[in-house]
Symmetry: C2
Subunit: 264 residues, 2 copies
């Protein structure tokens, strides 16, 4: 659909850009697009990549038009475009936008119902001045995901240097403590996911107490239930983290169903 | 010369790869190639990107053959290639190698002789589990280089979170204290440059005492001379860092000349 990048595109050269993976319905709707679009525009502003909101909408619309049957997600990559003198960007960059079609990753109904098994990744996730953004510098996640595969886990939890959980390699972490929904603050590291933002808004609508802050790993042990979310896969209950085990409780199933309704 | 990357190349998607910028002579020699090659192979092993040393040699040779007149550098990019399921690489990746021609960045003879003016970049360089490697996750350097341009410096110094100098945005830092050559250790963050490795070897040949360790910024103040090096530009004396000033001493000029001899 889009032409490929030039060899001197700064997205390839330095990871100088951002991406979004947008789940779409069979009828070609993208219900979470406004949230993806907002994060992409926020990231572009932070990185000083000049892009018009309309260009993003057009890129998604074109990708939806060109989508082959069975398309479940559209990945958009926005880069600062080609050129520059080494790390220094051109004074008037011409950003690139690339789109790809994909399918929603398969998770068995059994795992969706009973929960997944996770482990603790051995490398801490270091501080990131661009924390929150979905930028193209993703080597820490790639290496962590390779460890997850080597160890035979379904997903892996990344801790900060002080041992506080931040996120999973490709999903955000949540837990319920009584009525309270907890998720780590991502001011210092991690990706503030669109699924996470949707869930926090959903909890707000329910009048549920919400706590967004860093907590030591030991805090998780006392949770009533633990789960992961991203905007493509939705909610996956966590059955097991290392030696700890949690049940899948009714509110987690409810969040899972509420998310799926968006795409039905 | 090479075709461009696919949109789903992991180099673009995640910065999942490495690069080298190799200075070449007018007659098509690349005297520092063995060092570039060694670093690239080391990085590939660390990232588990399967690449044969011969493939790197062939890529450079082809790029040299195809080099237009005036080519002063060849940039090689090695990525893990296309595909994978999200962050997880394919179990049998097919790495990509891309080459680009370029010219050596211009630095006026005056600045090369009298030294450049530098400043302190405001963002610390965070820890990097892949410290030393020249990987494709370079957003911190891009943002730092943008600050250098905004402030009108020639280069900018990056400190770690405790205030110890690590490197400049695209060059390594050295200083002379009497006979002793000092450069920061780069175990926790920074790129261990090929120019830096060449210089450390050169100092060794001279029997000069060498100190490779982190030191607080205040330590620099007492240096007899301060300079930067990379394998493309060579040695640039630092005349000024913020309010501190250093002379350009004879040993620094000697290193500068020794480096240029490689490419004459």
């Amino acid at each position: 659909m889009s032409g490929g990048p030039a060899v001197n595109d700064r997205g390839l050269a330095y990871g100088d850009g951002l991406f979004e993976t947008v789940r779409v319905t069979a009828s070609g709707a993208a219900p979470l697009w406004p949230r993806h679009r907002a994060r992409l525009l926020d990231g572009a502003a932070r990185l000083r990549i000049p892009v018009a909101p309309d260009a993003l909408d057009r890129c998604l619309a074109d990708a939806l038009t060109a989508a082959p049957p069975g398309t479940g997600l559209i990945k958009l990559i926005l880069t600062r475009g080609p050129g520059g003198r080494g790390y220094l960007p051109p004074s008037h960059p011409t950003p690139s936008l690339f789109a790809q079609h994909g399918t929603v990753p398969e998770w068995s109904p059994l795992l969706r119902r009973d929960g997944i098994e996770t482990g603790l990744c051995s490398e801490p996730l270091e501080r990131d001045p661009l924390a929150g953004l979905k930028h193209l510098n993703r080597l820490p996640q790639v290496l962590a995901r390779m460890e997850v595969a080597r160890r035979g886990w379904h997903e892996g939890l990344l801790l900060d240097r002080r041992g506080c959980p931040l996120e999973a390699t490709a999903m955000n972490l949540f837990a319920l403590f009584g009525d309270t929904l907890w998720t780590p603050a991502l001011d210092a590291a991690g990706v503030a996911g669109v699924g996470r933002a949707w869930l926090l808004a959903r909890a707000g609508e329910q009048g549920r107490p919400v706590q967004v802050r860093l907590r030591p790993l030991s805090h998780l042990r006392t949770a009533d239930s633990v789960f992961l979310i991203n905007s493509v896969v939705g909610v996956l209950p966590v059955r097991k983290l290392a030696q700890w085990v949690w049940p899948v409780t009714a509110p987690v199933r409810q969040f899972q169903e509420d998310f799926e309704v968006l795409f039905s």
